[in-house]
């Protein structure tokens, strides 16, 4: 732990500092709890590093400013929460269609509607299914610690540029408000050349960035090309943490803040002799399908734990080895599953599974 100097820091601040380390020099946003610490911090920090902070008049303005900065080739970011992210969906769809790299942060709220500011994972579908109209995907990263809030902010910028696609960081008030020790990366950031960017046409012919394709077959070609990009992401960029044992009776799957409670539940279960494994998708798109398929083939019982009514569960069931028993423990609306409650679900699942096996015999 003493490798690098550590600082106690809020997750939101660690994320903002990660963005600066990644070379982000433009931020546009509109205030909303529980993510105001991000713009507050950047409003002070960006001018110090020669950057620009703009408090826009709305989320719709913010996302379109982001589109403009990305089109000009800059590393730029916006952040918001729930309703604000909903307002940004049109712009996000345009950015995906125009293949513009940028980072959007969603420190989620409860929902639907105005909801509340407690921690919740109800925006999983919106984040991982594109969110706006059209046939597209965002790169979606889900940190579970203050250190990852920092590290994945940098990773999001790298992946966005590499694949020319908007990246979204999905976190919540637990991760934004919590303080943990964090050590900062050495700033050895390389921003790739962006020959497609709109930088003024001096000495070269004009370029166009657009998402409108009207000629015969042009749009289908564009869709298939983007699809190929998503396939490459799926093949090469899955991020996952696996905590497995040689022999396991049950596999747990969880992401983000919820995985912290599952980590405690796994330790508790193992201390009582249960053989438990845990897979934590860090990239929600691309979703680590292969890891879940391979482990579920060995284990057979898969328990997804989420702070919503069951959204990632869809992806787990699509990924699980055919015939796996997939159950869900869901706590929506700001409820946090306690490690002891998760352990009870584990015990129940193991018991029911055994009964099923007996009745089949």
């Amino acid at each position: 732990m003493h490798m690098k100097e550590q600082r106690m820091m809020h997750g939101s601040i660690a994320l903002a500092e990660g963005a600066i380390t990644a070379g982000c020099r433009y931020y546009f946003g509109y205030p909303i709890t529980p993510q105001n610490e991000i713009p507050e911090h950047l409003s002070a920090r960006l001018p110090e590093v020669g950057g620009v902070f703009i408090q826009a008049e709305s989320e719709i303005a913010s996302i379109n400013m982001l589109l403009g900065a990305a089109a000009a080739g800059a590393r730029a970011m916006t952040s918001s929460s729930g309703p604000g992210i909903s307002l940004m969906q049109e712009g996000l769809s345009y950015m995906a269609g125009s293949e513009l790299p940028a980072v959007v942060v969603n420190i989620t709220r409860l929902g639907p509607g105005l909801g509340g500011i407690a921690a919740c994972q109800g925006d999983y579908w919106q984040a991982t299914r594109g969110g706006g109209h059209g046939d597209y995907r965002l790169i979606v990263l889900a940190p579970n610690s203050v250190q990852e809030m920092h590290d994945l902010a940098i990773k999001a910028f790298e992946l966005a540029d590499q694949y020319r696609n908007p990246a979204l960081i999905l976190a919540d008030a637990i991760l934004g408000q919590m303080k943990e020790p964090v050590s900062f990366a050495e700033p050895k950031i390389k921003i790739p050349a962006k020959p497609w960017a709109l930088t003024g046409a001096a000495g070269r012919s004009p370029q166009l960035i657009k998402s409108l394709y009207l000629a015969d077959g042009e749009m289908e070609k564009h869709n298939w090309r983007m699809h190929e990009k998503y396939r490459r992401l799926q093949e090469k960029e899955c991020l996952v943490e696996q905590d497995l044992e040689e022999h396991m009776d049950i596999l747990l799957v969880s992401f983000g803040s919820c995985s912290r409670m599952v980590n405690s539940a796994v330790a508790l279960a193992r201390s009582q002799g249960y053989k438990v494994g845990h897979i934590r998708p860090i990239s929600l798109f691309p979703f680590p399908e292969a890891a879940i398929r391979d482990v579920s083939q060995r284990v057979g019982k898969v328990l997804t734990v989420e702070m919503n009514t069951g959204q990632m569960w869809d992806d787990v069931r699509l990924s699980a080895y055919p015939g796996s028993q997939c159950r869900l423990m869901a706590r929506p609306g700001g409820a946090i599953p306690a490690p002891k409650q998760i352990l009870e679900e584990i015990k129940k699942f193991l018991k029911v599974g055994d009964l099923l096996a007996k009745s089949v015999r």
Partner: protein, 191 residues
């Protein structure tokens, strides 16, 4: 000390979160894993305030405390809310300048019920240093952190423009620490 979780609670403005900050900073300096989690909602000055600090020799899962080892309480509502959650054999530290000691009903925990605000006023001249008196009692009675590491953390947190408050803060923490040794009657566990 393998794992220690404490809920610090009281009214907004009493320095509850700050006391948690000092403990968390000290734990980091001590090479421990640590999380600091504030209660989060429509909090304001005079309303409820609390935070949970988890200190562990190993990587921490949940940053919440369902059965805390210790409750640090500076208000009646926070005592009512959290007292029954404290682990059996755990520790209750209550500022009786704000909370009547009769309201502390648990029989199966160690208890330090003392007038931290009066002590802060008598020893440091500031009622508002009660949070640091309480913190001193917590690190000693909970055997959760050394006085040296706590003081080092305070020197880091109260630097710059806050430096003039530092001598009073340090004295307040030592008063709480010594109160546990000399007057509380609880069994002292070494770190």
């Amino acid at each position: 000390m393998q794992y220690y979780d404490v809920v610090l609670s009281g009214f907004g403005g009493q320095g509850i979160l700050l006391a948690g900050d000092v403990l968390a900073q000290a734990a980091m300096l001590d090479g421990k894993h640590v999380t600091w989690m504030p209660s989060y909602g429509v909090e304001m000055r005079g309303g409820a305030a609390s935070c949970t600090v988890v200190v562990s020799a190993e990587r921490i899962g949940s940053p919440f405390a369902d059965e805390p080892c210790c409750l640090f309480s500076m208000s009646k509502p926070s005592l009512f809310k959290f007292q029954d959650k404290v682990k059996k054999g755990g520790l209750l530290i209550v500022n009786t300048s704000f909370v009547d000691a009769d309201l502390v009903t648990r029989k199966d925990v160690d208890k330090i019920c003392f007038p931290a605000s009066e002590i802060a006023y008598q020893e440091v001249g500031e009622y508002k240093m009660a949070n640091m008196v309480m913190l001193g009692a917590l690190i000693r009675a909970g055997a959760v952190m050394s006085l040296e590491k706590t003081e080092a953390a305070m020197r880091e947190i109260f630097g710059g423009s806050k430096k003039k408050a530092l001598p009073g803060m340090l004295k307040a923490v030592r008063c709480g620490y010594q109160y546990v040794d000399q007057e509380s009657g609880v069994r002292i566990r070494e770190l």
